[in-house]
């Protein structure tokens, strides 16, 4: 005997899903939401060089946000000049992504490179950063 369920496909498309299509308006809704997210990620677009400098600054020892900002400044990276808040946002994202670990000492938060962070740092230094901004993509992802 023929499987009576062989008719399921036509039965469902003719009845259950009749007139049920993903409309233009709904598609547009998705597009707009994506555009919004992209704009948000755009705000978090620090350069690969800045990200590398930051990771390097905590490679050998844990440092607090202020010490990190001083090191970046010494390297002539002015990304966070007069917007230190952004540095803390970034540090927080890197902590969430487990690139950095944080510990409190004397009311200050000290950041250090994790094992994963070391791998990312090595990978981003190995390749030409222009071709493959490994860290920047990671941050974009975190900002979505």
């Amino acid at each position: 005997m023929k499987d009576p369920l062989s008719k399921v496909k036509t039965a469902m498309s003719d009845h259950t899903f009749k007139n049920l299509t993903f409309s233009k308006e709904r598609k547009q809704g998705v597009k707009e939401a994506i555009r919004e997210k992209k704009r948000h990620a755009g705000l978090a677009s620090w350069s690969e060089e800045t990200l590398i400098s930051l990771l390097q600054s905590v490679k050998t020892e844990a440092r607090d946000g202020y010490a990190i900002s001083v090191i970046l400044f010494q390297r002539h990276d002015r990304t966070f000049e007069r917007k230190e808040g952004e540095l803390y946002t970034l540090l927080h994202m890197l902590e969430n992504k487990e690139i950095l670990s944080a510990s409190w000492k004397n009311d200050r938060k000290y950041y250090a490179l994790t094992g994963k962070g070391k791998k990312y740092l090595a990978a981003s230094q190995e390749k030409s950063t222009v071709q493959s901004p490994v860290l920047r993509k990671l941050i974009e992802e975190a900002a979505l």
Binding site: D3, P4, L5, S6, K7, V8, K9, T10, A11, M12, S13, D14, H15, T16, F17, L20, T21, F22, S23, R26, K27, G29, V30, A33, I34, K37, K38, A41, K116, K119, Y120, A122, A123, S124, E126, K127, S132, V134, K137, E140, E141, L144
Partner: protein, 186 residues
Amino acid sequence: MNEAEIEFDRIAGDSLEHREEIVDQLISTYGDRILHLAYTYVKNEATAEDLTQDVFIKCYEKLGQFNGRSSLKTWLYRVAANHFKDYLKSWHHRKLTLNEKVLSCIPTPDRNVEETVVAKDDEQQLADAVMALPVKYREVVFLHYYEELTITEISGVTGENISTLKTRLVRARQLLKEAISREGLE
């Protein structure tokens, strides 16, 4: 090659620009089908549309996690099925269905008349019977008979193992036959 590199050597989600393109393609290829899948779970058009929108936005966010171990299609269906099942489990939905149940207990003579007067053809009967199945059977019937996925592919979507799914299909067929012959006798 170290771990970090492997993670980023994958095709999808490499840049946000590329990601948007991929999502566009997914929508034009699978938009209707994901909507139908959603409807199979939630049985409400507006909710199904909302949830389908969510799924494609989720895809955009998660494309970076796609690891190429399954096909992109299987991955999309998995993201979708999980999202729809989460919705069914949600407090919001449970409250809604409880209200519906209460309402449906109040007799509405109109509907009864309509049901007896309009004779259902075989196809309508079958479609209704599928939609009346408990969700775990509905899911597997939709994926196997409507989407024509193999048991292995379904396992990739739902995460259940193959023997469980086979048993479920057998049971679903039984339930459907019973439902149809019951209606036929009436």
